[in-house]
């Protein structure tokens, strides 16, 4: 008995199944072993399709399916929480030669991972903000995710989630993922607002985090309206 040999043949379709695996008549398992190969590849491919719908839309269903087959052999799940499978997808896409002409894809994958993390993130109680002052910091909601990109990620996201196709602006953009209740919402935010969020996450106070050209009121309203503040740091 050797699960190592089973495991190796499972993810390598070219390998002959281990000789101790047989059919009821004692003949080599053959196609019977392929059932396990298919089960593993199909279930993980389904998980990747569910987790990366935008990547799939951009590269096409057939291409994605073939790419998922390559991904799952290089990066099988390390966690039993399949709902979060695909953590290595940004790095995989960045080094996947057939997609070298789409250099923004790793950032789209990062945004899709962030969206799933947000969906499953911890809940929090709305804090009392009556005594809030600029000298205090803010604990942001566990479901908040900031995705910074060197690419026009907001435009790319919008175009692939029902927005009308148009020219891509040649500029860096950022996405902020917020979860007002149970459904995460994705929106673009300006670089100053992204800097502000990152500074709050790093533990700075509101007045330290806010640059001169930030629309502080607008970003605070956005956070409040989307239940994105979990507490106050004195």
């Amino acid at each position: 008995m050797n699960q190592t040999a089973f495991r190796q043949a499972l993810l390598n379709p070219a390998m002959v199944p281990p000789a101790n695996l047989i059919d009821p008549q004692g003949r080599p398992a053959g196609r019977r072993f392929d059932v396990y190969r298919n089960n593993v590849a199909a279930s993980l491919t389904r998980a990747l399709e569910a987790g990366f719908p935008l990547i799939r839309r951009i590269v096409g269903e057939a291409f994605f399916s073939a790419m998922a087959g390559a991904y799952l052999r290089v990066c099988p799940p390390k966690s039993r929480l399949i709902m979060l499978y695909g953590q290595d997808m940004p790095d995989f896409l960045a080094s996947f030669a057939p997609l070298a002409h789409l250099p923004y894809l790793p950032d789209v994958a990062r945004a899709e991972l962030a969206l799933r993390e947000s969906y499953h993130a911890a809940d929090h109680v709305r804090p009392d903000l009556a005594a809030l002052t600029p000298a205090m910091g803010l604990a942001l909601a566990p479901s908040l995710r900031l995705v910074r990109s060197d690419w026009p990620i907001q435009t790319i996201w919008a175009m692939n989630t029902g927005g009308t196709p148009g020219p891509l602006p040649l500029q860096a953009q950022n996405l902020l993922i917020l979860r007002p209740e149970f459904d995460p919402v994705v929106q673009g935010i300006a670089a100053q607002a992204a800097d502000f969020i990152a500074a709050l996450q790093a533990g700075q106070s509101i007045e330290q985090a806010a640059s001169d050209d930030l629309d502080l009121q607008a970003i605070l309203i956005l956070l409040l309206q989307n239940n994105a503040i979990a507490g106050v740091r004195p």
Partner: protein, 284 residues
């Protein structure tokens, strides 16, 4: 051996595998579904809608927690972090039942997301029993162990599957989950008699029954090869085997398991109704 104070608390009635798309249907028209089963790993996130829905459903229905990722048959030690997550889920949810599979699914750091087969030998028996003991110790409750679907055999196997499962239950005090579709799939694939399997199964140790659908293929030599798909209606031979199990063992909690190509709620309810008819038949 664990004492029997944490008995299975599922009603001897039909339940279904919970799918989020059925959330409102379940709350408005649950009959004849009397309990729900969830896959443990889908509720190991930190919060959000899955846990909120589960809290809501648990206030209304007995819940069965069915693990698919523990790898009880694995050659390596059980993952203590995963066991701790299971413990956490069982602690807050207080489910009516916890069950897992006679299978393995992890190797080193890799999780393979499938229920892989085991040779039935003394060494496997000792390892699985040690793992079941560990699970029951950590969870502080009795678990049910499910008979697997298998597609091949092992040269080194020298024990019968029914005897193997019976010995695990006797040594560890765990209960058994009898998946009747798996019996049919397995016996077809292994050229055995499913009626003999059901009649020899220790039904007094069974805390829950699973019913599901399968696909039919053939192997390299044209022999039938059934695939446990959880993606179709229960077939007639499986209903007949189920009725035989209930006739012998009496009414048992019975799950309609339909995980892929999930049907609409009325279709699931109709399947649950068929199970209810068989369960009520033995009570009449």
């Amino acid at each position: 051996m664990l004492d029997q104070t944490h008995r299975n608390n599922l009603p001897a009635a039909p339940g279904v595998g919970y799918k989020p798309q059925h959330f409102s249907d379940i709350l408005t028209a649950p009959q004849p579904v009397e309990w729900l089963e969830i896959h443990a790993e889908n509720y190991m996130g930190d919060g959000g809608r899955p846990l909120a829905q589960l809290r809501h459903l648990a206030a209304r229905f007995p819940i069965s927690v069915h693990g698919v990722g523990l790898s009880i048959g694995g050659e390596s030690a059980l993952d203590v972090d995963h066991l701790a997550r299971l413990r956490h889920l069982c602690d807050w949810l207080q489910p009516a039942s916890f069950s897992e599979h006679l299978a393995w699914s992890t190797h080193d750091a890799d999780f393979l997301n499938d229920l892989l087969p085991l040779p039935y030998t003394a060494a496997t028996l000792a390892r699985v029993c040690a793992h079941v003991d560990q699970v029951q110790d950590v969870l502080g409750r009795k678990m049910l162990l499910e008979n697997p679907s298998t597609y091949l055999a092992f040269q080194e196997t020298d024990m019968d599957e029914v005897d193997f499962l019976t010995q695990i239950a006797q040594r560890t005090g765990c209960g058994l989950l009898l998946d009747v579709n798996n019996v049919f799939v397995n016996c077809t694939n292994q050229a055995r008699d499913p009626w003999d399997y059901i009649r020899r199964f220790p039904l007094h140790l069974v805390g829950e029954i699973h019913l599901g659908g399968h696909d039919a293929q053939t192997d390299d030599h044209g022999a039938p090869l059934l695939i446990d798909s959880h993606g179709a209606a229960v077939v007639d031979p499986v209903w007949r085997l189920y009725a035989e199990a209930i006739r012998i063992g009496g009414p048992l909690p019975t799950l309609i398991e339909w995980d892929n190509d999930v049907p609409d709620w009325p279709t699931l309810v109709a399947e649950a109704g068929l199970a209810a008819g068989i369960l009520q038949g033995v009570l009449a």
